[in-house]
């Protein structure tokens, strides 16, 4: 799975591309965990994600727990309606920070 990583001062923005399912989740997890080693202020943008299954949600949960234990922040943004539906169905919308637009997600770190 292709993952683009950008830096904005001390914030890291992660852009995974394509589908996050069992066949790509391992790759996605490795990419995210590498990012967390260096930075615990992380935004994941779903702008290039067309599909996510429980395998993908598992990775997000593991990353969220890890970042939380390191006193960092994980913010998710730019989800399509269907991707957001999957997060709502899992109850993850109640335990993770999800914002519709990138500027709202970015604003979390200015507070």
């Amino acid at each position: 799975m292709e993952i683009t990583v950008k830096k904005d001062s001390d914030i890291t923005i992660v852009y995974p591309v394509g589908r996050i399912d069992t066949s790509t989740a391992k790759n996605f997890e490795e990419g995210i965990m590498k990012v967390i080693q260096d930075s615990q202020q992380v935004i994941i943008s779903f702008s290039n994600i067309s599909y996510i299954s429980s395998a993908g949600l598992r990775v997000i949960l593991v990353a969220g727990k890890k970042i939380s234990s390191m006193k960092g922040q994980l913010v998710l943004t730019e989800m399509s309606e269907k991707i957001h539906d999957v997060f709502k169905m899992s109850g993850f919308d109640k335990i993770l920070k999800i914002y519709p637009t990138f500027s709202e997600a970015r604003g979390v770190f200015d507070k």
Partner: protein
């Protein structure tokens, strides 16, 4: 449509393509197609990952057909007897720290379908899933 699928995770790519074609050919909305993809992905992935423990190549089948306002999906595998409906459901109200990893796949399948049944027939696990094509709200 009947698909023969090998117990290899790389097969999921091909399954996605076939299911999308099926949805397109049957005028199933993109939203419903997404739900159907999740259901089939979660169940097929379970079979590929856990049904066969002898390291050999096996084939299982995915059948999908449209019956008026319902889509009927059937998965048949000759693997280890396993009723996924018996899995305990995840606590979707738990906090981030206490939320357990896993158990979501079957929960999604139940949430997205009208009815899911499991039976062990002639040495095979048989899962039948019915998805309503009526759009909610």
């Amino acid at each position: 449509m009947l698909l023969d699928v090998k117990n290899d995770i790389r097969e999921i790519d091909r399954v996605f393509t076939c299911i999308k074609e099926f949805c397109c050919a049957n005028d199933i909305s993109e939203k419903k197609c997404f739900d159907i993809l999740i259901i089939i992905d979660e169940l097929a992935t379970n079979i590929i990952s856990y049904a066969f423990d002898d390291g050999q190549e096996h084939t299982f089948t995915i059948m999908i057909e449209k019956e008026n306002e319902l889509v009927h999906i059937q998965l048949l595998d000759a693997g280890i007897p396993f009723d996924p409906l018996k899995k305990t459901e995840p606590n979707t109200d738990a906090s981030l720290e206490s939320r357990k990893v896993g158990g979501l796949g079957i929960f999604f399948v139940k949430q997205l379908s009208q009815l899911v049944t499991y039976a062990r027939i002639d040495g095979k696990n048989q899962l039948d899933i019915f998805v309503s094509l009526k759009e909610e709200g």
